[in-house]
């Protein structure tokens, strides 16, 4: 039987984080990442995975230290996810091949990749000569391949994870653009609150830095073009910020009802106290000018956690380093926090790991858990030229010790996706 102390202010089951795992361009595993993050080290570098001739942006936070053979986004996304999940499940003290709870996975949209299209075009067979899909289809009829087909399936990463880790039921693969990782946590939190699950594996992964992906974001003017010194390109909240830096990684969290965690004697790292969400109906890539959806999202997150702004000790910013995002995020926070915002430290992990897109919300939630657990705020690096329009305590350039009871972690994405998580300390700690 659960006890009153296992319930939140609204009488719902409290949801604990009992394990975390992470992979980013800074390295594999919690310790490697935390060491680099608190040392203010950048994982951004020149791309050498593919030719960058003719590209406006030639830098990224790719993960090159996991060998998956020839790069295929699905394979790298899976490998990073498996590493992060295995670490999280191990930390939670659960069996690595029998997780016995549902999986909510934020994963990048996939397509047949160019390497496969080029290979198809070269295959033998009776087909028209003219390049294009008619030829590819004619060749495919004579050269079927389950292996190539699997690359095109959106659910493939989750299926492989589910088989490997022993999660239960039909895994959910989701995308809410750059808020995806936070949405995965939200879905797990809701499932446990409903009583549909005692525990859930919630995670995000993204290994989709390709030439075409860079070009697509470049065409929307979203990427930094400060290629000269890669590690200095991502500079959230700086006056000369000019776009985000694409990056890869995976973050995983084991969520568990506090009652279940307590019953099996698990170590509680933190609790997911609340989550807020509000969609924006203004524009496909831009926020409503009055910031009302972002404001509503942050307020909803605080309300869901039963907290007010003064309870928040640190803000893990979305902080992409685009001119638009950082301005809108700061304005939204100012509207909710008022003058008190000046006293709340806020930093952007993306200054070091870049924007891990689909994985960002989950990776940054992992770092938020570690911030609470270890009493250190990771810095915003490259903060040498503050934007006077958005005065913030960005924890500039050097990590800072601080006891934090509650973290607000924001995630905003294309398509009007906004999610704010509130992560708190174990109420018994």
């Amino acid at each position: 039987m659960s006890q009153a102390s296992d319930l939140d202010f609204a009488g719902r089951p409290l949801v604990a984080v009992t394990g975390v795992g992470v992979v980013s361009s800074l390295g594999q595993g919690v310790e490697a990442n935390w060491d680099a993050l608190t040392a203010g080290r950048s994982g951004i570098h020149r791309i050498n995975r593919f030719a960058t001739d003719e590209l406006r942006t030639t830098i990224a936070g790719t993960v090159d230290f996991i060998d998956v053979g020839p790069h295929v986004s699905t394979n790298l996304s899976f490998a990073m996810a498996e590493a992060a999940a295995t670490e999280a499940i191990g930390m939670a003290g659960l069996p690595r091949d029998d997780f016995a709870g549902p999986l909510f996975l934020a994963a990048p949209p996939v397509e047949l990749e160019w390497t496969s299209r080029f290979e198809l075009d070269k295959l033998p067979g009776d087909a028209r000569e003219e390049a294009g899909y008619d030829r590819l289809i004619e060749l495919a009829r004579q050269n079927r391949s389950d292996e190539v087909y699997e690359i095109t399936r959106f659910s493939r990463i989750a299926e492989k994870l589910s088989d490997r880790l022993g999660t239960r039921g039909l895994p959910v693969t989701l995308s809410t653009a750059c808020a995806s990782g936070a949405s995965a946590i939200q879905l797990g939190l809701e499932a446990i609150r409903r009583g549909d699950a005692e525990r859930a594996l919630v995670m995000g992964t993204d290994g989709s830095v390709t030439a075409e992906a860079l070009i697509r974001f470049s065409l929307l003017s979203a990427l930094s073009t400060q290629n000269e010194v890669p590690e200095k390109a991502s500079k959230p909240f700086s006056k000369d910020r000019d776009g985000f830096v694409m990056a890869e990684g995976s973050g995983a969290l084991v969520l568990e009802s506090l009652a279940s965690a307590r019953a099996r004697g698990a170590t509680v790292l933190a609790i997911v106290a609340g989550v807020g969400e509000k969609a924006d109906d203004f524009h496909r890539t831009r926020s409503k000018p009055d910031g009302s959806p972002i404001i509503a999202t942050i307020r909803a997150g605080l309300a869901d956690a039963g907290l007010s702004p003064q309870d928040i000790g640190y803000i893990n910013a979305h902080g992409t380093s685009t001119p638009e995002n950082d301005k809108m995020e700061a304005q939204g926070l100012a509207a909710v926090f008022g003058e008190a915002l000046a006293r709340v430290p806020i930093s952007s992990n993306k200054s070091m790991i870049g924007h891990t897109l689909t994985a960002a919300g989950a990776i940054e939630a992992v770092f938020s858990v570690l911030t609470i657990q270890r009493g250190v705020l990771p810095p915003t690096i490259n903060y040498n030229n503050p934007d006077p329009a958005i005065p913030l305590d960005t924890v500039p350039n050097t990590a800072r010790k601080a006891e934090v009871n509650a973290v607000l972690s924001n995630s905003f994405g294309f398509g009007g996706q906004n999610v704010s998580l509130v992560i708190g300390r174990d109420p018994r700690a």
């Binding site: 003719e54 949209p109 289809i137 079927r144 391949s145 039909l170 995308s175 809410t176 030439a211 959806p293």
Partner: protein
């Protein structure tokens, strides 16, 4: 502790397919007498169930919005608009801001002309990828990325129909549709949501997707045959795809009653699972799902079967054993197979049938083309419950 579950009603249906648009055009979709509308020439040797001609402006009034979308997104935004109108959810922003949304999405159309150009130029010797980079940089339309992003179907529904309570996009073929309906139903039953728009869209008339399914060897190129007859078809693959948009409005009985909304049916249960696909494992899993959803009592099964022989045979046998009293209909017969959209479209057809008094209890099944199985259970609402 955990509050008692609330009844979940289907109060709005939005359908767009080869059969037409709206509820009336789809009422007879389960009748065996009707013939499918097919296009066997545009994508020969494959047959597709082509989308009916649509005046997009009826649900997407701004031309500027239409220009930002390719057909896949337009099908979904249009069907979502039909569902909201059908449920009589007022169009004012204050109301729509309280509506939650879950969309099951694939990805958007590629620019096949640009891709052909990249392929042609890559044949020149000695290229390291620079030609592809140059071609894509100069030829891709900037907005095409947004028309392709999976979550931008939901994003466009927010922009066009002002649905902003929440916005979640699930991906992963048939499983995405199963999970979307399951999560929407569970959230409403548990009091986490008071009204939810849930749905999906699939554009079958795309060579980029036909290529994928041909790589897998699943596409049928022979003459059309009814879905369950494709089981005994001598090795000819069974998949015939169809363009479909399907959205539902779900809400708890109290909420529907308070705003005077009428219901098509009660959605009592949605279950999903996955696992090994050998016949014995699939039979065991599907049997469990059908039993859990109350199969024995069903007098109608709306199957989302693909027509792929092995899985469709197992499904037919499981249904014969576990839902013996039920009349069996295949949604794909008239609509074609629509992947992410299949389960929700089949659920919409079942709700329509129940509302028309055809049956009392329906099961909806979907066995995904490669992975994922789902079962939904629906009941007719009684006269006292503001039935349609």
């Amino acid at each position: 502790m955990v509050a008692p579950k609330r009844d979940v009603l289907v109060t709005g249906i939005g359908l767009l397919s080869s059969l037409g648009e709206g509820v009336e055009a789809h009422r007879e979709a389960l009748a065996s007498a009707g013939a499918p509308r097919l296009d066997g020439s545009s994508f020969a040797p494959y047959t597709v169930h082509p989308l009916v001609a649509v005046d997009w402006s009826a649900q997407i009034p701004k031309k500027g919005d239409q220009r930002q979308m390719e057909t896949w997104q337009k099908i979904g935004v249009y069907a979502a608009g039909l569902a909201l109108a059908d449920a009589a959810v007022p169009a004012d922003e204050a109301t729509r801001a309280g509506v939650d949304m879950i969309v099951a999405a694939g990805g958007g159309e590629r620019d096949t002309t640009v891709d052909a150009l990249v392929l042609a130029r890559a044949r020149e010797a000695g290229d390291n990828g620079a030609r592809m980079n140059a071609t894509l940089s100069s030829e891709l339309r900037p907005t095409l990325f947004l028309a392709q992003l999976s979550n931008l179907l939901a994003g466009n529904i927010s922009i066009v129909h002002k649905v902003t309570g929440s916005s979640r996009t699930f991906m992963g073929e048939e499983g995405a549709g199963i999970s979307a309906l399951a999560v929407a139903q569970a959230r409403i039953a548990a009091g986490q949501s008071d009204i939810c728009l849930v749905g999906s869209a699939y554009n079958a008339e795309r060579k980029d997707l036909l290529l994928n399914y041909e790589i897998a060897g699943m596409l049928r190129s022979g003459p059309f045959a009814p879905v369950f007859e494709r089981i005994a078809d001598g090795g000819e693959p069974g998949l015939v795809t169809g363009s479909v948009g399907a959205f539902l409005v779900l809400e708890p009985a109290e909420h529907a009653e308070a705003r005077g909304a009428r219901a098509y049916a009660r959605l009592t249960r949605v279950e999903g699972d996955r696992g090994r696909r050998d016949a014995a494992a699939l039979e065991k899993r599907l049997s469990r799902l059908v039993e859990a959803a109350g199969g024995l009592d069903a007098d109608l099964v709306v199957s989302g079967a693909t027509g792929l022989a092995d899985a469709t045979r197992v499904e037919r046998d499981v249904l014969a054993a576990k839902a013996p009293k039920a009349e069996l209909r295949a949604a794909g017969e008239r609509l074609g197979h629509s992947f992410e959209t299949q389960f929700i479209a089949a659920t919409a057809l079942a709700a329509l049938d129940l509302a028309g008094g055809g049956h009392a209890r329906a099961l909806v099944t979907t066995v995904g083309h490669s992975d994922a199985e789902g079962v939904a259970a629906l009941e007719a609402v009684s006269n006292g419950e503001a039935a349609r």
